[in-house]
């Protein structure tokens, strides 16, 4: 058992355990906070895969942005007065069967396939190279992404602030 595998299993356990709490918890606030740890675990997996820039991005955008938005959503749409913060489930048994079949298929496929692998590159900071790629090979997707973000910003403001007609 070397350090790499210990760290991998720790972060995998954090990710899957927190993901399980997100999915199975009856209390939606618990789910939202467990999602925080799931994102942290995924960021650790990124570090393990030598994606340092993406790990930081994950922490800043997912934990700092998306998760805060989701918690806002939880707080704004629950009836606090009635303490009706429970979130119900429907079709538990059929869903479990489908998900078990799906997970079994995927894990079996990933287990048995022999993937094409290459020699591992040495550890190297990726931020500068990613920036270079974004402004050369990936310039068009980069610009389109900025337009998408602008449209999403304006659209979200429009939709959320629309006046209710009497």
């Amino acid at each position: 058992m070397d350090l790499f595998s210990i760290i991998f299993y720790v972060f995998a356990a954090i990710t899957l355990g927190a993901g399980g709490i997100v999915v199975f918890s009856r209390n939606i606030v618990h789910s939202a906070f467990a999602l925080l740890f799931a994102f942290f675990g995924v960021a650790g997996i990124y570090v393990l895969l030598l994606a340092d820039f993406l790990a930081v991005t994950q922490l800043m955008i997912y934990v700092g942005g998306i998760l805060v938005l989701l918690i806002f959503g939880v707080m704004l749409t629950q009836r606090q007065i009635n303490v009706d913060i429970k979130a119900g489930t429907v079709q538990v048994i059929p869903s479990l069967i489908i998900v078990a079949a799906l997970a079994g298929t995927l894990v079996g496929m990933f287990w048995m396939t022999t993937w094409k692998t290459t020699n591992l590159q040495p550890a190297d900071p990726t931020a500068a190279k990613i920036g270079e790629q974004l402004l050369t090979n990936y310039l068009l997707p980069f610009e389109v992404a900025s337009v998408v973000l602008l449209v999403a910003l304006i659209g979200a403001a429009m939709i959320a602030r629309r006046e209710k007609r009497a």
């Binding site: 899957l16 994606a51 704004l76 974004l134 992404a145 973000l149």
Partner: protein
């Protein structure tokens, strides 16, 4: 049994892929079984994270280039845009129907 232990001791590409498959399944379960629209959104976030793990694992073990990481950045960007729009829609639904349970929202207009 011996092979399995040996396999468990040396994490490689398959281990990351199986982790992402399990995370993906958890997300699918949230989408299928939870009534609350925000829980469905959390399931989608789990699925996007699982996809990102796949991209980055392949970028590390299979190609050795940064292309997978750059696609993962675009996935994160789209996830941010998606969750902003989706929450705006959910807030609107809450104002109109006074609930966010997806099985009770069955009208296009009130």
């Amino acid at each position: 049994m011996e092979e399995l232990l040996q396999w468990l001791k040396t994490p490689g590409l398959n281990h990351f892929l199986i982790l992402s498959a399990l995370l993906f399944s958890l997300g699918i379960y949230a989408i299928l079984s939870r009534r609350n629209a925000i829980m469905v959104l959390m399931g989608i976030e789990l699925i996007l994270n699982a996809a990102n793990i796949n991209f980055i694992a392949f970028s590390r073990y299979s190609t050795g280039t940064l292309d997978g990481q750059i696609i993962a950045i675009f996935v994160i960007i789209l996830a941010a845009a998606e969750v902003a729009i989706a929450l705006a829609i959910v807030l609107n639904i809450y104002q109109t129907f006074n609930t966010v349970n997806v099985d009770e929202i069955n009208q296009l207009k009130d």
